[in-house]
Amino acid sequence: MEHNENKFLVGVYDDEDVVLSAVTNVRNNGVRIYEVYTPFPIHGLDEVLGYKRSGLPRVAFFFGLTGTTLALTMMIWMMGYDWPMIVGGKDFVAFPDFIPVTFELTVLLASLGMVGTFLIISSLWPGKKPLLFDSRCTDDKFIMAVDLGKNKLSADEITSILKNSGAVEVNTKIVEE
């Protein structure tokens, strides 16, 4: 057996439609794809790769709910219980006046919470070193990475499958931890 730890086969494609069909093709041929790297999001790619739908919308919803609760609790407690003051003859808890802040905090927490979660689960932070199988993945090429260590098929078999699916290049890359 070849020493396949941290050894990847990198298929390079130059057309988004080709990549999409290639993924199905490659998977049907029994290859486990590590990841596909593209310069822009390709609609349908996540489905053909078998990825579950992102839970981030739900995250946003729950953060938003937190925001609403936080806002209302804060205002009702501050204006109604902690230090009620007569302001313009209004009730201490003048609910219609609390709507704008409630809405804003809902949106703020939903956005920041969701984006923060996104960055964390995607391992993105300032100064993170990216794992690039081919630096052209941010330019004009679509990169399919196959982890030989996690695949039963041999490198040559995988290479030919990739080429048949439309890859214009197939390279090898060793990834240091």
Binding site: M85, I86, V87, G88, G89, K90, D91, A94, P96
Partner: protein
């Protein structure tokens, strides 16, 4: 001899000439109080006086009159003569021979005077003895003596003798005077020929002044021996014959000054130079004997110091006889009025009789006055704030806006609209005024109510050596005055007015002068009021799904407002009593450390007054067919002889204050006692509250007004800062301020009552404005206490004369205004 008046007894008052008894006349405070008694209305008093005023330039008195007629100074004598003839006709007397003159409202005035015989008075502001004699004659005919005029309690407030002074000035010029002492006198400034007088002063060997500064006269004296400030002095006064008052010091002398009296005692070589001892001794000998049942002298003295005044029960003859004051060989008998008191007048002088030759007087008047003069006549007048000019260095007075023109930090030529249009003048244009061998360049102000063919200029300005606030403010008007028949005339009968180059902006706190047909001020006439106490009211009604409702019944908040269970501080402002004098404004400034901002900032519309007296002129009725734009344009123009109304405007302490809702940092909230609070140290100055205030009563500190060279008034030096009230914060730059209902006084009053384990009583807690109002137009107190005047007035006048300004926007002010009722014939 100047009599005093009792306007509270007068159902009809007629003022002719410069008879500004509510504004600048000596005794105006007392007269305002008396006059107001006759103007107030209530459920128990449905009658009020009727007031006619015939004057040249619009004065506070004229603004309060029910009927005001502009007359020229050259017509004044004829007007009095015509009035005499009308009154004489109605009382069956003989007419006098004087040229006829047509004057609006004169016949109505005559009728009313006669109908109110014994309860009427005619006043003249003239310096012409003959006119005064004729006025006395009319008063005699209508039985005023002893009722509305008091010759017994003659006024001692003005005791100068013009002829004697003129003689003195001449003697100085001739070098006949060896020594002169100036005490509270500054003739180099305020004498018409003061300049030459000043030059001639060199001829006087010894010149001493007791002034507290190097004023115009003192700077020409050899010795200046500053007297104490009046707040550092002992002294006494007899403002009216038989009414005594003591002056006592409130602080030790700040500077190395000496009481003028002590200087005199020293120079006179008295054994006891102490003035206090002298004063006490004088009182022991001359005043104390009049005090019946006062106990020992010490008792009497202490009680008098406490009371401040001493009014003996029966007034005997004055200790000082004015007639004997001036022993001058040049005294002209004609200078003194011919009405003489009897030897020992009783308190009311009812023993006075009139005896003079009215026909001779009429003849003299016929010579002097003209019904139709073509000349432009200049009237010199005193502004109620600045007066004769000796207080010109007081920044509060300089910044005090004139109640009529709303201008400050300046004098100006008041011209009638017709003249301005004819000469193509707009406000601020400079004109040259020439007369009596003197000329000045001065800006023009268009004054509604100014008699046609006349102009007016205020004295008290144009000082050179008053101090840094007063120097070079305005132009000196005194040189236009002159001696006429032995009395100083403040009318220049023929001046030339010509356009000059350039402009000079006049600082005004108000630049729109009409009410624009808005129900902000509500008015009615007496006859309407007597039929319906709610006459003239505008009761806004809002249509709702449950039918018409008053704005206060509508609220989106279920509780419909918070309840004030302890105190609820409120005010009632009676627009019938308010004469517009503005004493409340100055009092508020002093009490609350309101900064002075100076002329330029007033021009920038940033004066800091918390309380203001809005003055509105009436506009001519607009024609029905005029378009909306034209209608509104016409409404902005004041009438040529307008009706005038004064409305004190201050923070209304709204229960649903629009300012509180919008402050982001809770710097303005509502107290549990109904006050709109202003927390200075929390305010970050967004100015949203000021924008949202419909009454525009909030003021921002645009700059740092203290310790700032650019605002070098009383907050920029240690001596000036002694003026500040230590109970009130001095606000920082960027902070909002406004009327607080003198919360420092409220707190003090509550605390004092609490220490005595009781509730505050009505009258114990009073705002500075209410306290200083001579007429009682402002009534302040606890609306929750049924014993207070304010609560009773509020209760009584709801649905009648009581209204709130801008009631329809439902901010629920704590201030009720009372509809102005005029008594037009």
């Amino acid at each position: 001899m100047v009599p005093t008046y009792n306007f509270e007894n007068a159902d009809v008052v007629v003022g002719i000439g410069a008879a500004d008894f509510l504004g600048t006349w000596p005794g105006s405070t007392e007269y305002s109080y008396q006059y107001a008694q006759q103007r107030k209305l209530s459920k128990d008093k449905k009658q009020m006086s009727r007031h006619y005023q015939f004057e040249t330039t619009l004065s506070i008195t004229g603004a309060n009159a029910d009927h005001r007629t502009p007359i020229k100074p050259s017509q004044e004598g004829l007007v009095v003569a015509a009035l005499y003839n009308q009154v004489a006709k109605l009382t069956g007397g003989a007419a006098i021979n004087a040229p006829a003159i047509q004057v609006t409202n004169l016949d109505k005035a005559a009728k009313d005077l006669v109908a109110a015989k014994g309860r009427a008075v005619v006043i003249s502001g003239s310096k012409d003895v003959n006119v005064q004699i004729l006025t006395n004659a009319i008063n005699s005919l209508i039985g005023a003596n002893g009722k509305t005029i008091d010759f017994g309690a003659a006024s001692n407030l003005k005791a100068g003798n013009d002829t004697a002074m003129a003689a003195f000035v001449q003697e100085v010029q001739q070098g006949k005077v060896a020594a002169v002492l100036f005490y509270n006198a500054n003739p180099v400034y305020d004498y018409p020929t003061g300049k030459t007088f000043g030059e001639n002063l060199q001829k006087v060997g010894l010149r001493i002044s007791f002034a507290d500064r190097f004023d115009e006269t003192a700077s020409l004296c050899e010795y200046v021996c500053p007297d104490h400030h009046y707040l550092e002095s002992w002294g006494d006064a007899e403002p009216k014959r038989g009414y005594y008052s003591v002056i006592q010091p409130t602080i030790n002398p700040i500077f190395k000054t000496r009481a003028a009296q002590e200087s005199l005692l020293t120079w006179a070589g008295a054994t006891n130079k102490n003035y206090f001892a002298y004063l006490q001794n004088f009182w022991r000998t001359n005043v104390y004997p009049q005090a019946k049942g006062a106990g020992s002298f010490e008792n009497f003295w202490t009680q008098t110091l406490h009371d401040g005044v001493f009014e003996p029960k029966t007034v005997s003859a004055s200790i000082i006889q004015p007639e004997t004051q001036v022993n001058n060989s040049n005294t002209n008998d004609a200078a003194r009025p011919l009405t003489q008191p009897t030897a020992t007048p009783a308190a009311t002088g009812s023993g006075v009789t009139f005896n003079a030759d009215v026909n001779a007087v009429a003849a003299a008047i016929g010579q002097t006055y003209k019904a139709n003069s073509n000349a432009t006549e200049l009237v010199l007048y005193e502004k109620s704030g600045i007066g004769n000019g000796d207080q010109a260095n007081n920044p509060y007075l300089q910044e005090f806006p004139d109640p009529i023109s709303r201008a400050c930090w300046d004098n100006y030529l008041a011209v009638p609209k017709k003249m301005a249009v004819a000469m193509e003048l707009v406000q601020g244009d400079l004109v040259k005024v020439e007369g009596k061998g003197y000329s000045i360049e001065i800006p023009v102000l268009i004054q509604p109510g100014q008699a046609e063919g006349t102009v007016a200029l205020a004295i008290g300005y144009g000082r050179e050596k008053a101090g840094k606030a007063g120097n070079k403010v305005g132009k000196n008007a005194y040189p236009f005055a002159s001696l006429v028949n032995g009395t100083m005339s403040f009318v220049a009968p023929d001046v030339k007015i010509s356009k000059a180059k350039g402009k000079w902006e006049i600082a005004q706190v108000q630049t729109h002068h009409t009410i624009m047909a808005r129900p902000i001020v509500q008015e009615a006439n007496l006859n309407e009021y007597q039929q319906n106490p709610a006459a003239g009211s505008f009761r806004p009604v809002v249509e709702s799904s449950e039918g018409p409702k008053s704005p206060t019944e509508i609220n989106i908040w279920k509780a419909n407002g918070h309840k004030y269970l302890n105190h609820s501080w409120g005010m009632v402002i009676d627009m019938n009593s308010c004469t517009g004098c503005g004493a409340c404004v100055v009092a508020c400034n002093v009490e609350n450390n309101v900064p002075v901002v100076g002329r330029q900032e007033v021009i920038n519309r940033r004066e800091m007054h918390w309380l203001r007296i809005d003055r509105y002129y009436s506009a001519d009725p607009v024609p029905e067919e005029a378009g909306l734009i034209e209608k509104n344009r016409l409404l902005e123009e004041a009438s040529a002889n307008p009706e005038v109304v004064f409305q004190p405007m201050l923070c209304q302490h709204c229960q649903q204050a629009p300012c509180e809702t919008v402050c982001p940092v809770l710097a303005t909230t509502h107290s549990s006692e109904g006050l709109n609070q202003m927390t200075y140290n929390r305010c970050i100055g967004t100015r949203y509250c000021a924008n949202n205030c419909p009454y525009k009563v909030r003021r921002l500190n645009w700059f740092k007004y203290h310790n700032n060279e650019k605002f070098d008034f009383h907050m920029n030096n240690d001596l000036g800062k002694m003026v500040l009230n230590p109970d009130v914060t001095v606000r920082a730059r960027g902070v909002m301020e406004k009327c607080s209902f003198c919360v420092q006084r409220i707190q003090e009053g509550k605390l004092n009552a609490k220490k005595e384990r009781r509730r505050p009583k009505d009258g114990e807690i009073i705002t500075a404005c209410a306290q200083s109002c001579a007429t009682g137009a402002i009534v302040f107190g606890d609306l929750n206490d049924p014993e207070t005047r304010v609560a009773q007035m509020w209760e009584e006048e709801q649905g009648k004369r009581g209204f709130r300004v801008l009631e329809e926007i439902n901010v629920r002010p704590q201030i009720t205004y009372l509809t102005k009722i005029r008594n037009k014939a």
